[in-house]
């Protein structure tokens, strides 16, 4: 049913509809409205869940690791310093193949401390074995959470999923959102049946010590599963469409790419602003298009190449930079062209760090620079 909600409250409603049973929460701006509304639902008896007020993010991840290992559906949310503090637990959760769902309300990282939006936090966790989806708007954030639970608990995947939504820009934005009915969610999302879990009836030991003779294969298995997920996701997305009556993209979205010679590639809420600029440029005859990356992990390399192969000039815009090299998404997109002939010009742009506003002018500055020589790391709206 179409409602007008703040992004955080919409996501909290989805978590309620998915019937998470153990929720761990440690407050960090701008994630707080999500856990606050879940707390109120539990306090009012609208959500039958254990809501655990932990003493830190390291424990927030540890609590959902323990609960998921004991066979219940879990949820937690964090951002920035909190995500960095819990990273060792994130690796452990993926290694244990536990289907934990985490919302990252993306925010810059210290020092200096900054509470506004960028993607430096979640990209730091991209090697941890979690599926990572980035939402453009709050409708997508809701749909990606529904897909996250279904994919994570699918016995062909059994991996945790991180849904990234831009702090303040999405979490604190009031938008029109179509929330599903409980019956639809129950149809799409079967009860969670763990592959292995802590249970006296079958007292297995989890997370055991594995030496050189057996450790490698566990990593290979996660990597192979990530690659398999690329094929599993489209099928589940179709099921999503049948149940909820609308499409959901989980890997990429093509926008006016058919005859585009210049293509922007980006993730998250800035995509909306880029689409506005593209419509303007198209009106005065410029062949410009956009490829929205939704899944940063697993990175859909083949379909990214298929989508971009006819472009002459590609600009990758991102809100993060691997200090000492280039933007992580830029590296990923360039790698899609390895082994293919007639390489297009691909330039990398860093913008919107620490909440600096991305305006239409910023996008046009990207386009001007793209026309020139290829650059690896161009900071846009730099004040030096």
């Amino acid at each position: 049913m179409r409602q007008y909600l703040e992004g955080s409250h919409a996501v909290a409603q989805i978590v309620r509809l998915c019937k998470a049973q153990v929720i761990s929460a440690y407050p960090i701006t701008p994630q707080t409205h999500i856990v606050e509304s879940l707390a109120q639902m539990v306090a009012d008896g609208e959500l039958n869940a254990e809501f655990i007020n932990v003493e830190s993010e390291h424990s927030a991840a540890s609590v959902v690791q323990g609960a998921s290992a004991t066979g219940v559906r879990t949820y937690t949310a964090t951002t920035s310093q909190g995500l960095l503090y819990m990273i060792e637990v994130l690796y452990s959760i993926a290694g244990l193949r536990l289907p934990v769902i985490l919302t990252c309300a993306n925010r810059a990282v210290s020092s200096p401390i900054n509470i506004w939006n960028d993607h430096q936090d979640s990209v730091t966790a991209r090697d941890a074995g979690w599926l990572q989806f980035y939402a453009e708007n709050n409708q997508e954030a809701c749909d990606l959470h529904l897909m996250a639970y279904r994919l994570a608990e699918d016995h062909n995947i059994m991996l945790p999923v991180m849904v990234c939504m831009d702090g303040y820009i999405l979490t604190h934005a009031y938008e029109v959102v179509d929330l599903p009915e409980q019956s639809q969610v129950d149809k799409f999302l079967p009860d969670f049946k763990p592959v292995h879990c802590l249970n006296p009836d079958e007292p297995i030991s989890m997370g055991v010590l594995m030496g050189p003779e057996s450790y490698t294969e566990t990593r290979y298995a996660i990597h192979q599963t990530m690659m398999d997920a690329l094929n599993v996701i489209p099928g589940i997305a179709d099921e999503f469409e049948q149940v909820f009556g609308r499409k959901v993209n989980c890997l990429i979205e093509k926008y006016r790419l058919e005859d585009a010679t210049q293509v922007f590639v980006a993730m998250g809420s800035m995509v909306g602003t880029i689409k506005e600029v593209i419509d303007g440029l198209r009106e005065d005859g410029q062949k410009v298009g956009l490829l929205k990356i939704i899944a940063h992990r697993p990175f859909p390399k083949k379909i990214v190449y298929e989508a971009l192969k006819n472009a002459r000039e590609i600009a990758v815009l991102e809100k993060a930079v691997s200090l000492g090299e280039e933007g992580p998404l830029f590296s990923d997109v360039k790698s899609a062209f390895c082994g293919h002939g007639n390489q297009p010009k691909i330039s990398g742009f860093v913008l919107g760090l620490g909440g600096r506003d991305i305006t239409k002018k910023s996008i046009l500055e990207v386009q001007d620079t793209l026309a020139g020589a290829q650059v690896d790391v161009k900071f846009i709206d730099l004040k030096i």
Partner: protein, 385 residues
């Protein structure tokens, strides 16, 4: 003089108790101190680039490691041989201290660093918007321990950090409130006179989080002590050496009704809960014997008072209140002074704050003058313990 160690212009909310507490602390430590400050309101409202309210060297750690960063600062000063000129302070809010920073705080205590740790207790995570912490009081409403059809707010009582600090054999542990600024500053000075780890926990009201009138910060910080809900104690090497006694314990309702975070208790459903909070106050009063005339308190603090002069019982002293022609006496540290006829004690009252016929030992701490002003009065006896 406008203060130079914690300057105006910081962006704390109107009537912020934590800004008041932080200013009182750093004005006492003086310039030769390095502060390691955890993430939180204090850090945010004093250090928005390119400005800073601090007049002393100050570093923002992260949320959970202020005590560990301070340990590093202390170690560096120690190896440079400067630890007796430059002292080290580590500070944070209640969440940074009692929750996320507990491990590094325990580590600092355990290693015995020469650091004063100050916890500004505003009883919830205020910087992120009033979420529950380990020091959120019982039944108080926060956004992650909300009141609802099935809940009266925070279901758990406050952690007792002073006793946890004592369990680490910390040489000096004390609590204070911004309503008693002189007592607070006296404890900071005392702490800095001691080597090794020290812990000071300061009660600081938060108008935004507790939803009270910004002008009531002082009043609320006083009432919490006068109801017994926040014992003001001082330990040295684990032994109680001083505490702030209460004349007659005020009912907790007087304190609770000023704050929106307890509004949900003033309903039909909530009445029973207020009784539970009163029980917490009563148990504090009993456990720490906070009431004035309870005998143990008098004996414990005043043992060494032998004297052959006239001995006054408390009852006898209270009759000499200088009214209707009666003499005006008061007691100070066990001695009884005659102030009959003094122009500053007209009909037995002093600036309508203090009254003849009572024991003014504790009240003097908050006075703008020391006990030198008593020299010109005659000592005419001793207060019987």
């Amino acid at each position: 003089m406008v203060t130079e160690l914690f300057s105006s212009g910081h962006t704390a909310c109107v009537g912020c108790g934590q800004a008041l507490g932080a200013r009182l602390v750093v004005e006492t430590t003086g310039p030769n101190v390095i502060i390691a400050n955890a993430t939180g309101c204090l850090e945010v409202f004093t250090s928005r680039y390119p400005e800073s309210a601090w007049g002393v060297p100050w570093i923002h750690s992260l949320f959970q490691n202020a005590a560990a960063v301070a340990s590093g600062v202390e170690a560096a000063l120690r190896i440079k041989g400067k630890l007796d000129q430059v002292r080290v302070i580590s500070q944070g809010g209640d969440g940074a201290t009692a929750d996320i920073g507990m491990a590094s705080l325990s580590g600092m205590f355990d290693r015995g660093h020469d650091i004063l740790y100050v916890c500004y207790d505003n009883e919830a995570y205020m910087n992120t918007g009033v979420q529950r912490s380990g020091l959120t009081p019982f039944d108080s409403r926060t956004t992650t321990s909300p009141a609802g059809k099935k809940s009266f707010g925070n279901p758990r009582p406050k952690k007792n950090i002073p006793e946890i600090a004592n369990a680490h054999n910390v040489p000096y542990v004390a609590t204070a409130s911004v309503a008693f600024p002189k007592d607070l500053q006296k404890k900071v000075k005392k702490a800095l006179s001691i080597r090794g780890p020290k812990y000071l926990q300061i009660f600081v009201p938060c108008p935004l989080g507790w939803r009270h009138d910004p002008g009531l910060t002082y009043e609320i910080a006083k009432l919490v002590v006068e109801t017994g809900l926040y014992p003001i104690l001082e330990y040295q090497d684990g032994k109680l050496i001083s505490l702030k006694t209460i004349e007659a314990a005020k009912p907790v309702d007087e304190y609770l009704k000023l704050q929106g975070r307890y509004a949900h208790l003033f309903t039909e459903r909530g009445k029973g809960e207020i009784a539970k909070i009163q029980a917490i106050a009563d148990s504090n009063i009993k456990k720490y014997s906070l009431l004035k005339e309870s005998k143990e308190v008098q004996k414990k603090m005043m043992e060494e008072k032998p004297s052959e002069e006239k001995i006054f019982t408390t009852a006898e002293l209270s009759k000499c209140d200088g009214k209707d022609g009666r003499p005006a006496y008061f007691a100070y540290k066990g001695k009884v002074y005659d102030i009959t006829g003094s122009d500053r004690w007209a009909d037995g009252t002093h600036y309508n704050m203090h009254f003849a016929g009572s024991d003014l030992t504790e009240a003097l701490v908050e006075a703008p003058h020391g006990d030198e002003v008593f020299e010109r009065f005659k000592i005419i006896g001793v207060l019987k313990m």
